[in-house]
């Protein structure tokens, strides 16, 4: 029986492969010789099983385009002056471009030359005449805008990846999605709120001088002087726990921003025992910082993060050497997180949380326990039922049913699929359905026996007829699983993959492997009767 030997060999090989893929999931530490070509990946557990955070963020790329246009407006002012173009009004219009009003007697020739030489990403649209003059739109070219969007999304992804790396999460999954979205999965995280805060913070750091020429009281009444703004410092009293908000009148222009920061570290104040963050600037930043502190001794310099004042110390002396520190009523975690966002840099645009799913570790553990428990109970009942109903044939079927488990789990490890809670349900369902394949075959064999065929012929006819049905039904279920994989997200994809692996493993065990046993008994050993209930 050469063919039988071959098939048994293939079956054994498949089983060995499945077990090899399962080894990393079953042992805590792999032996040293287990290296190189042998698989090392464990079965991934979904967030619903091990706890963690799933986030979908949208990078608000329009804000990036807005701030780009704002910067261009600032750059345009001196350039227009240099080219002696008189301008009545200059401002940003949405994310379309920049609106610019010229006096009626001014022609656009000089403007066009300026645009052509320095601002190639803008196109001059024909003007509209009004009472003051002519208003033109410098419209931002579409491909330019798309480029800005893309850059912002890419940079945000990079920055967030940096932050998460520094925060220290094992096996984070961070990937871009369509529509400037970012999918983030942080398994096994202990403090989800802190992680989400850290990821979602824009972290635009600015150093701004306190406006001491104008009165804060006047500004609070609504008369904010041009070029200044009111920002708040929020502080929590450590003893009473009360929150206070202190207003500051600051100069709008920020001479120094977070872009100049090269490093940020948490340090401990030896006297007070309080943590603070020490900053290092790059050489340009160091020069600017030296100049500002030198020119403004005795005044206050506010450190502003995302439009919130962190602290506003009085400048006592010129500071050279490119170092500064941020103090404040920090907890250690606050200080650490601030240092991380300053090191990783600011997001080019704010991000919005579109979807958040947090699973606490306790729930995940309960789910695994309950899932495995039901799998065990359901499985045992089915095995007993099949054995009672089909006798020896049923026992053979039971063995092949049990083989499904290493095949499915090994398949999950092999394809790097994620086992989720619906996935466990999927395995349980596949157990139920793989019984179907056995039932189809055995009912067929019984029918053939009833027609008076001898054991071997009945077995062979039963298998070959039932296989057609089994394949047809598995293909259609596979179609449902494929569609699920295509349209599903998160846990559902895990379910689809589990279902697909389960279907393949069904056919493999119920048709291919069971047949080997039956062929051995009735073709090789020439048994004359079938014990099939």
């Amino acid at each position: 029986m050469k063919r039988l030997g071959w098939r048994a060999g293939i079956a054994a090989a498949l089983m060995v492969i499945a077990f090899v893929f399962l080894v990393p999931s079953m042992t805590q530490e792999l032996p040293p010789w287990w290296s190189g070509v042998l698989p090392k990946d464990k079965i991934h557990l979904g967030l619903d099983l091990q706890g963690g955070v799933h986030l979908i963020l949208e990078v608000e790329v329009k804000k990036a385009a807005e701030s780009y246009l704002e910067r261009v407006v600032e750059d345009l002012k001196p350039d227009l002056r240099k080219s002696k173009i008189r301008v009545l009004d200059l401002k940003r219009r949405g994310i379309e471009g920049i609106e610019l009003t010229l006096p009626p007697d001014q022609d656009t020739k000089d403007l066009e030359t300026l645009l052509g030489s320095t601002y190639p990403s803008f196109k001059l649209e024909p003007g509209v005449k009004d009472e003051k003059g002519r208003t033109y739109l410098l419209s931002l070219l579409d491909q330019e805008r798309t480029q800005i969007f893309k850059m912002a999304a890419d940079q945000a992804l990079e920055t967030i990846r940096n932050r998460i790396d520094q925060f220290g999460v094992t096996e984070p999954d961070i990937r871009p999605q369509t529509g400037h979205r970012i999918l983030i999965q942080l398994p096994g995280i202990k403090d989800p709120k802190r992680a989400i805060d850290l990821i979602g913070k824009t972290a635009r750091m600015e150093f701004k001088l306190v406006d001491e020429e104008n009165s804060l009281e006047e500004a609070l009444k609504g008369n904010v002087p041009a070029g200044s703004e009111i920002l708040h410092e929020s502080a929590v009293d450590r003893k009473t726990g009360r929150k206070t908000s202190v207003p500051f009148l600051l100069k709008k222009r920020a001479p120094l921003t977070g872009e100049s920061i090269t490093d940020a570290r948490v340090q401990l104040d030896t006297q007070m025992g309080e943590p603070y963050v020490s900053l290092s600037f790059d050489s340009r930043g160091a020069r600017v910082f030296e100049r500002i502190t030198g020119e403004n001794v005795g005044k206050r310099l506010a450190i502003v993060l995302d439009d919130k004042v962190y602290s506003a110390p009085v400048i006592r002396d010129k500071i050279s050497g490119g170092k500064a520190q941020i103090t404040g009523a920090f907890t250690m975690d606050d200080a650490k997180d601030l240092a991380i966002v300053l090191r990783a840099g600011a997001l080019p645009a704010p991000v919005k949380i579109l979807e958040e799913r947090t699973v606490g570790p306790s729930l995940g553990k309960d789910s695994i326990d309950q899932g495995l428990q039901s799998m065990l109970i359901g499985g045992i009942i089915v095995l007993i039922l099949v054995a009672l109903y089909y006798r020896l044939a049923g026992l053979i079927a039971d063995v092949t049913l049990l083989l499904n488990i290493p095949f499915i789990l090994g398949g999950l490890a092999m394809f790097g699929a994620t086992l989720t809670l619906p996935g466990i349900a999927g395995i349980i369902l596949t157990i139920g359905m793989s019984v179907d394949a056995n039932v189809l075959i055995f009912e067929r064999i019984r029918e053939e026996l009833r027609m008076g065929k001898p054991a071997r012929a009945a077995m062979e006819a039963g298998f070959s007829r039932a296989v057609v049905t089994i394949l047809d039904s598995n293909v259609t279920t596979m179609i449902a699983a494929l569609v699920l994989l295509q349209f599903g997200t998160g846990p559902i994809r895990g379910f689809a993959v589990t279902l697909m692996i389960g279907l393949v493993s069904n056919v493999l065990t119920a048709v291919f492997m069971a047949r080997i046993v039956f062929d051995y008994l009735y073709v090789h050993k020439r048994w004359k009767t079938i014990s099939i209930g």
Partner: protein, 354 residues
């Protein structure tokens, strides 16, 4: 051991009008129920909003919890008990779509443990933005539609050798729906219209097996949704996965019968079609019952021991597998006979059952 000792001969097809009436009634009740409740009871995945699952140390009434949450953006939430009675787990549900969830779980934990003075475990937080909810709903509908359509192609090909016709039909429908979706047609209606167009196509092209399958699969999905409406359960993303699994299982069941019909047709070329169907159902009946029973056992175990998170999922599968088995015998098979009067006028009353 055998379920049926002697050769079976139950006249299923003869009872088809009674079955049609029963099926029709079920559909009617489901539709009325769904309309009365203003559509399916969508979960947070599809409506957008926030759900926080907390575990407390002792029993609380919903209003106690709501009061404890005052001043946390969660004060107008709906509080539900969740899971077993001894578990003291609650769902805090807010449908305010503008809410940013970052830290909401944390806030809830703080507020609850401060005001109620006990340890509070945040088991799960789910926040879905309204935009994402809308997208997920679209995706789910497309998933069900495409699954049905592709299966229709496979069935028409395998059982009636009408691959080309079915592929062209499916291609046209997919193109038409995606085209209409680009122009912003409402997806829900679009899919419903597309499904009815599909059935109409199958009718005129006499893709009998495909049409019978699609109609009975829609029946299964609809009845399962009806069962969800009756028991006040929510349709969430994993329930959509369950619905698709039901579609997979149910089609599996139908194909076993179809396969047998194909075989019996080859065996008795001159027999009336309805007798052929009867023989096929009877010959596969012990398999149908056996497989259905083992699957049901597994699902009942899952329902009892699987824990609250998987409970609704298991419930959906349970209902779906019962209706799936019913619809194989009493919906899908009789529909095959609808064309009979047209093809051979004598078909219906030709021969006595035998």
């Amino acid at each position: 051991m055998e379920i049926f000792k002697s050769k079976l001969n139950i006249d299923f097809i003869g009872k088809r009008y009674a079955a049609f009436t029963l099926s029709g009634l079920c559909i009617l009740v489901t539709l009325v129920l769904l309309l009365w409740r203003g559509g399916p009871n969508y979960g947070v995945d599809f409506t957008g909003g926030v759900v926080i699952q907390v575990k407390m140390e002792k029993k609380h009434t919903p209003s106690e919890i709501r009061e404890a949450l005052a001043g946390t953006q969660l004060d107008d939430s709906i509080i539900q008990e969740f899971g077993e009675t001894g578990a003291f787990e609650y769902l805090i549900r807010v449908t305010n779509p503008d809410l940013q969830a970052a830290g909401l779980g944390d806030k809830a934990q703080k507020a609850l443990s401060e005001k109620l003075g006990e340890k509070v475990d945040i088991r799960q937080v789910e926040m879905v933005g309204p935009q994402v909810g809308e997208e997920l709903r679209k995706k789910a509908l497309y998933a069900i539609f495409y699954a049905l359509l592709i299966m229709a192609v496979y069935i028409s090909g395998r059982f009636e050798h009408k691959w080309l016709m079915a592929i062209i039909m499916a291609g046209c429908l997919i193109a038409a729906t995606s085209f209409a979706a680009i122009f912003g047609a409402g997806v829900v209606w679009l899919i419903f219209i597309a499904l009815f167009v599909t059935i109409a196509f199958c009718w005129f092209l006499t893709l009998r097996f495909a049409m019978a399958a699609i109609v009975s699969l829609m029946f299964d999905v609809l009845i399962t949704m009806g069962a969800f409406a009756v028991t006040n359960r929510e349709i969430s993303l994993s329930i959509v996965a369950a619905l698709l699994t039901i579609v997979g299982y149910s089609i599996n069941d139908k194909i076993v019968v179809y396969d047998r019909i194909r075989e019996v047709l080859a065996r008795f070329r001159k027999m009336a079609f309805k007798d052929i169907i009867n023989i096929s159902i009877n010959e596969t009946l012990s398999r149908t019952i056996l497989t259905g029973t083992t699957t049901l056992i597994v699902l009942i175990v899952l329902l009892i021991f699987g824990g609250p998170v998987i409970h609704d999922f298991a419930f959906a599968l349970l209902v779906g597998i019962i209706t799936g088995t019913y619809s194989s015998i009493f919906v899908a098979s009789p529909i095959l006979l609808l064309w009979e009067g047209k093809i051979t006028q004598s078909g219906r009353n030709s021969r006595p059952q035998g």
